[in-house]
């Protein structure tokens, strides 16, 4: 999931980036949010889902690439924090995940 977000972030073609996001991160983000609510961390789940919504809307509304990337970075951070709360090891940056 984190690698998928990083690949979506580094992809210059927005359509390809969107495909990567939906194929490799979207569903897993839902799963992490569900696990966070079950782990009594609804605020982290909320942050994650709000960040995910911003990314989806950025794709949907064809927002400028810099806005999309900023929202993908925020989502990456939210996902990382969520995974850490669930005791998964997640790279801090996309560079670390390469």
């Amino acid at each position: 999931m984190v690698t998928g977000l990083c690949d979506a972030l580094s992809e210059s073609d927005v359509e390809v980036s969107e495909t990567i996001f939906y194929d490799r991160a979207h569903q897993q983000l839902h799963a992490v949010a569900t696990m966070l609510t079950q782990a009594d961390a609804p605020q982290l789940a909320g942050d994650l889902l709000r960040s995910k919504q911003r990314v989806e809307a950025s794709y949907e509304q064809d927002l400028p690439v810099d806005v999309l990337r900023a929202n993908l970075r925020t989502l990456h951070d939210a996902a990382r924090q969520g995974l850490e709360r669930l005791d998964f090891i997640a790279p801090t940056t996309c560079e670390e995940s390469q």
């Binding site: 909320g46 889902l49 911003r54 806005v67």
Partner: protein, 334 residues
Amino acid sequence: MTTSARLLAVLMTAALLLAACSGEDPSPSPTTAPGGAVVELAVEARATYDLAAGTDQRLIFGVLTADQALIGGGTLDAQVIALESSDATSGTLVTDAQATFLEVPGMELPEPLEEPQPLSGTGASGVYQLTTDLPQAGVYGLQVSGTLADGRQAGGSTVFQVAAETSVPAVGEDAPLTDNPTVDDDVPLAVLDSCAQEGNPCDPSAPEAEPSLRFPWMHQVSITDAIEAGRPVVALFSTPVYCVSRFCGPITEEVAALAQEYEDRAAFVHVEVWEDYDAQTVSPAAIEWLQGPDGGVSEPWTFLIGSDGTIMQRWGNVLDIAELESLLDELPAT
């Protein structure tokens, strides 16, 4: 009709075919084999909410490959089997039908697919659906098979539980009279629509802007007021920001668009599921309508309520928007 070990037949056949082709133990690798490929599918019957015994029950299920790619398009052969228990190897066949692909509204395929295939890269999402009788409460099996677009045979199975009675208002029942909040109430806008909150998560082009309702026409009347006015109602329970179903899509946007097209046929009401997500407070209206026996609330749900207050149809999780449109077309303009 009694059937022997039908539930596991697809998986067993797949495993045996693999063994015949490869000469290896059939158990570890379910996906492909040279010259006679078989694809093992995962079947997610959990996509159907609130299944209960009765006739003509709507069963929807997701179908995925081993690497979690969603399958869509065309039809799949499906058998529903009443089982004695979840580990039974025999049961009674109750339905043998073709399941058709149902796209998630707003996440349709660019073009219809005549045969099932992975949806990766299409941006589309959906489930397969069929109608089945479910004679009694208990455990059922669902086995699915078909030929993928690339010619490979595919199949999978799952078991699912059927309750004695529905816990969410069902077709033919009176709609609960619910005073869900509207634009006339002094409540935070996010209580009406989770998109209308600080930071505007649904409109990242204006994160600093004052939150506003995207579809104010969906929040003009309560369900009670609409029913008491003698109008049919389309009641949508959804949470645009916080949906966690695998088959989430822009259902609120799609129904809001329908509301403008069919405003002369019915009142359209959107009920936000969450009053406060971070505090895990579900809206009282969603609790009244959607709370299950375990205390949880499933979403999204769409209900079509007749002018007499009786529920005409309901769709849990994935809305069949064409069916809703067809039913709305039959209503008189008011």
